[in-house]
């Protein structure tokens, strides 16, 4: 088998009938999705639509209840984790670590990690190698985490709500860090419900509504055909219907 040939022709992400349920609740209900390489893709949907669940499945933190998903032609495992750079929606640092420990850890485990880039970004952010992570502010921790994640030349970046709850200056910093540092042959998947902020950075948009992919299209084609921004379309698709509550 020619390994590289497989790598280049298969889509980077492929989900088939993907279901994830938590108890009786179905967070994902039959997701069909194919995403290619070298794209910046927005995973768009309101809170509770299944964005985080899909991302956790992709990075192997959750196992599907039914259906399957492939990254680079393989099921989530050691190989896919090695080519995936994941930014969770929370801090994942251990209390006992200093920033140097984290940089060491990334350098040890990820062969695509660029240590020089990471240390440069840290010094730009004013983070010293001996700084205890415990004593950092929330904003600094988030930026450190982003710097580490974007210092990898990964095939797939999974960024879960990178701009939720930050001020406009930090938002600009985060978006420009993503755009200037990602590996151009890799794909970036950004989940968010703040569409107007990321719209101009996206190639494709995937709309997720209560566990289903309701739309997956190139952003430019979407704007051309619909004659409105993705943000406006989003509001239309996810408009709360007053009658949905049923009879009182």
């Amino acid at each position: 088998m020619n390994e590289t040939a497989v790598t280049n022709h298969t889509p980077l992400i492929r989900c088939c009938g993907l279901v994830k349920s938590f108890g009786a609740k179905r967070a994902l209900d039959g997701v069909e999705l194919e995403i290619g390489r070298g794209r910046i893709v927005g995973l768009l949907g309101p809170n509770g639509s299944g964005k985080t669940t899909l991302i956790k499945l992709l990075c192997g933190l959750l196992q599907p209840s039914a259906g399957f998903l492939m990254i680079d032609g393989r099921e989530p495992g050691v190989h896919t984790k090695g080519i995936t750079s994941y930014l969770p929606d929370r801090m994942y640092f251990a209390d006992w670590m200093c920033s140097r420990d984290l940089v060491d850890l990334f350098a040890d485990f990820y062969s695509d990690f660029d240590r020089k880039k990471a240390t440069e970004m840290c010094s730009t952010l004013g983070i010293g190698p001996r700084d205890r992570i415990k004593s950092m502010s929330k904003g600094t921790k988030e930026k450190l985490q982003l710097a580490l994640v974007m210092s990898r030349a990964a095939q797939l970046y999974l960024l879960d709500e990178p701009i939720a709850g930050v001020d406009p200056a930090a938002r600009d910093f985060i978006l420009s860090t993503i755009l200037t540092n990602y590996n151009e042959n890799g794909t970036v998947l950004i989940s968010t419900h703040l569409i107007s902020d990321v719209e101009r950075t996206l190639d494709e948009a995937v709309f997720l509504k209560s566990g289903h992919v309701v739309r997956h299209e190139a952003v430019d084609e979407l704007r051309e055909r619909e004659g409105k921004s993705v943000d406006a379309l989003f509001r239309e698709i996810f408009r709360a219907h007053p009658m949905e509550g049923g009879e009182w």
């Binding site: 101009r200 190639d203 409105k228």
Partner: protein, 119 residues
């Protein structure tokens, strides 16, 4: 450079328009080198693929050309640039005249007013 992007139209066409404007106005002189896709994408805060598509449009229009060694250059063919500039000017003029005719002015009156306005 301040990029203005509005809703409802593809981003790449808007980027191509604004780059065209910069070339015909001489901000990027004929024969000069254009910044890289990455630099342009970063300054506009857009995805490099989108900027790539806009630059491909410029190349299709003959306003720029890729060169293997020196990157992407503005064309040094001033005829092409002038033609493009005139085409843009004509578009603005017809928009002006259309707006004036809605106010009830004829083309001559509009031209007269324009000359007066300039004084």
């Amino acid at each position: 450079m301040d990029w203005k992007l509005d809703d409802g139209r593809p981003i790449w066409t808007q980027l191509a328009e604004q780059l065209t404007r910069q070339i015909v106005s001489g901000e990027y002189p004929p024969g000069s080198r254009l910044p890289s896709v990455r630099e342009l994408a970063e300054s506009a805060g857009v995805n490099p693929n989108t900027m790539q598509r806009a630059l491909a449009q410029l190349e299709a229009d003959g306003l720029a050309a890729s060169n293997r060694t020196s990157g992407r250059m503005v064309t040094d063919d001033s005829v092409v640039i002038d033609a493009r500039r005139r085409a843009l000017a004509k578009k603005h003029i017809s928009e002006y005249l259309a707006a004036m005719s809605q106010l009830g002015y004829t083309a001559e009156e509009s031209a007269e007013l324009l000359r007066e306005g300039e004084k």
